[in-house]
Amino acid sequence: MKELICITCPKGCHLKVDEETFAVTGNSCPRGAVYGANELRNPVRVVTSTVVLESESFRRLPVKTDRAIPKAKMFEVMAEIAKVRVHAPVRVGDVLIANVAGTDGNVVATRSVKE
């Protein structure tokens, strides 16, 4: 049995995961079961950061990966994000990097800036 803390939501349930069957106990909702099993097989994380923004009012645009990407690829994704420059206007959800670092995830804007 591996003991984990579910990080899917701020509740932070204490999970127990069976190393062979990947059965999960201690979760308060089904998302915890998915997290627990994944964390042993292929841990993934959402990466959030900022990119350079050319705009009248703001210097940085917040961004995120639109899905959780393999934990081992976090720094590779950060290196891709560091190369991006965006001009306003931009809308929340706009794709800034598609298929970032070959992860199938996209880097998207997390706020709208008009000018």
Binding site: R45, T50, K64
Partner: protein, 417 residues
């Protein structure tokens, strides 16, 4: 004098939600005053995800969560006035404000919602011995520099305090290429959410030193070294346990303090346990027609709870404007064993359908009960598998349980049997 039916001080998630619910309850003349250049409050710099799971049923980043509310308010006539600082507030609900656009202006309000949020404690900084060099920041200030202004504040970092902001910044600085050497916590447990220990420290092998503190700071112009020592049960450093870290940056994440200068000026009664106003179950303060919600009322770790609380405050403010103040007998709420405070601090006996009580426990509990007593008589009991000071707790008591209580006070306490 300018007039408005409802004035909301602060355009963070609390202010935005209070405005939305007051609007939906039928108040049409609503003004939000925000001192920053944009609405959204602290969420603008919280670019990480983990917001909105309760309210929107999906995981959003801070800017996305704020953006949703700003978008919803666009569909209303609620006015959001940014770059506007409220300087003074009086008990008869007059606000004194300044802004580049309107200069000095006094505004008379039919009702007021206080939603000024928190600021960071720096007390830890004052009591740290050693040099007064540059390179010591509160974690939130560093977060603003990095995420809004685009400046990295350092390369080799030690973090004092394991509050959520410090943990989030440990990860953020690491991802941006800094080396975070240690997170140091005075207490024997972390002040932050468990999920943040896992995904911000453990993911990057950043050590967490519980029951430790910073005992010396060295550096001529810029910080060069900090010394960390273990502390005993009385939180006094133990000689001989010193560890020295070569670093250029020390981030302080030693807690938040509700920002209640305006509330005090107006004469709102403050609860020394929360450092926020004493409120009724509808978020009304000791001054009729003045309501409080969000971090100014008590420190929240989840924005979803801020939203829910602020929705109630907005609705109550609307009711005050439309139907006048609440009356009715009050019952005091007390914190018993293991409970640090309660919000609300008192309630009216004739609460409509249920009474929700928010509080924090004083230490970590496993398999314990939250009990509510009317004198010697237990009127309700709730089981919890896990409780920690870093996580706000809440219980809901159906109104029918409150029908037969004596005059109070009711006591909320933790029982372990």
């Amino acid at each position: 004098m300018t007039k408005a039916e409802l004035v909301i001080i602060g355009g963070g998630p609390a202010g935005l939600a209070a405005a939305l619910s007051a609007w939906e309850s039928g108040v049409k003349d609503i003004l939000i005053l925000e001192r920053d250049r944009q609405a959204g409050g602290i969420l603008n710099q919280c670019i990480h995800n983990g917001f909105g799971l309760h309210y929107f049923k999906e995981e959003l980043t801070g800017p996305e969560y704020a953006g949703r509310f700003i978008e919803m308010l666009r569909g209303t006539d609620v006015r959001v006035r940014t770059d506007t600082m409220v300087l003074d507030l009086t008990a008869d609900r007059i606000l004194h404000t300044v802004s580049p656009e309107h200069g000095y202006e006094a505004i008379r309000a039919g009702a007021i919602v206080l939603a000024m949020g928190c600021r960071e404690r720096t007390r830890g900084a004052i009591s740290i011995p050693g040099a007064r060099c540059s390179g010591v920041f509160t974690a939130g200030a560093a977060q603003r520099f990095l995420n809004i202004e685009g400046y990295m504040v350092g390369k080799r970092v030690v973090i004092l305090g394991s509050g959520d902001i410090g943990l989030i910044m440990a990860r953020r600085m690491t991802l941006e290429g800094a080396k975070v050497l240690a997170c140091v916590e005075l207490m024997p447990y972390s002040g932050g959410l468990n999920r943040n220990i896992v995904q911000c420290l453990n993911d990057f092998d950043i050590p967490l030193y519980l029951s430790h503190t910073v005992t010396d700071v060295r550096g001529k112009d810029r910080l060069e070294q900090v010394t960390v020592s273990k502390v005993d049960e009385n939180r006094r450093p133990i000689p001989g346990t010193e560890m020295v870290f070569d670093c250029d940056t020390l981030l302080l994440s030693v807690g938040l303090l509700p920002e209640n200068e305006l509330s005090r000026q107006a004469g709102v009664e403050i609860d020394p346990r929360t450092n926020g106003p004493r409120v009724w179950e509808n978020c009304e303060t000791s001054i009729p027609g003045v309501f409080a919600c969000g971090n100014v009322l008590h420190v929240h770790d989840l924005v979803d709870y801020v939203t829910a609380e602020s929705m109630r405050a907005g609705e109550a403010a609307a009711k005050f404007i439309q139907a006048g103040g609440e009356t009715g007998d009050g019952v005091e709420l007390q914190n018993g064993d293991g409970v640090g405070y309660t919000v609300p601090q008192h309630f009216r006996r004739d609460v409509s359908d249920k009474l929700q009580i928010f509080f924090r426990v004083r230490r970590i509990y496993r398999d314990a009960f939250i009990s509510v007593y009317d004198g010697e008589r237990r009127i309700a009991r709730f089981k919890r598998e896990h409780m920690a000071p870093g996580e706000m707790e809440n219980i809901t008591i159906p109104a029918m349980f409150l029908k037969h209580i004596t005059g109070g006070p009711l006591t909320v306490r933790i029982e372990e049997d």
